[in-house]
Point group: C2
Chain length 119, copies 2
DNA sequence: TGATTATATTACTATATGGTTGTAAAACGA
DNA sequence: TCGTTTTACAACCATATAGTAATATAATCA
């Protein structure tokens, strides 16, 4: 069954509280190490130890970032003995990254065009 | 003419430098006042003074946030006398906000389901 | 039980940044 | 020219947070 996601398309009003909530979500993605963790989880679920190896940062640091991503609902986790596997909770996060990447590209193009007008 | 946006769909690899760039973009959106400014620009371009009135914060603060949004390519500006009009540079930013809002909703639903299993 | 492994947590430091205050710059009007 | 209006900028402070070091917790194994 295909679940149709009802998108709000800016139907509702944007209160200050809404701004706080949305900003909090964006903040979770506004950190290079967390983006690298999410990217490492792209192909499959991974243990904390794997993520430490893949990112090259400390175990405490990985754990801390994962807690934040978990609390924000970006990743899920599953326990197996002492090992804990983390996985992407919603691939929506990669749609957002793609949009950002597109934005970076477009911004570059626009700047280039401004420096080098007509031609 | 319709411009087809070529989306990278995760084709390229995600280096540390890429993570820094993407995080920087997200960081620009990870701030409630900047989100309120962008939202105020949604219907039309507005002067700095208008934005001060709409947000209720200081002129210096509005200006500072607008500089950051401008440098990141989220808004454009146009001068008319001493007045400067800012406008949304790419409505992509609202697509991202919509994705975040959907994420918040889904996360809420998921948490509710976890608290209230089967039923 | 005691040792080991895997993850989380706590306390701390250094840095980044949001908001304020005061001032500068630029365009306009009298 | 002088004053006014509009926006930008610089210096400052308070707070938030990324990373580290040390420790706690919990599960497994010998």
């Amino acid at each position: 069954m295909v679940v149709k996601r009802k998108s709000r398309q800016s139907g509702v009003q944007f209160t200050e509280d809404t701004a706080d909530l949305v900003a909090e979500r964006f903040r979770a993605l506004a950190e290079p190490m967390r983006l690298r963790l999410l990217n490492a989880l792209r192909p499959r679920a991974r243990s904390v130890g794997e993520l430490v190896g893949l990112t090259g940062t400390s175990q405490a640091n990985v754990s801390k970032h994962l807690q934040l991503l978990y609390k924000q609902g970006f990743v899920d986790r599953e326990k197996d003995g002492t090992t804990i596997y983390y996985r992407i909770a919603d691939p929506m996060v990669f749609e957002m990254c793609d949009l950002v990447c597109d934005g970076i590209q477009q911004d570059l193009d626009a700047r280039r065009a401004r420096l080098n007008p007509e031609r």
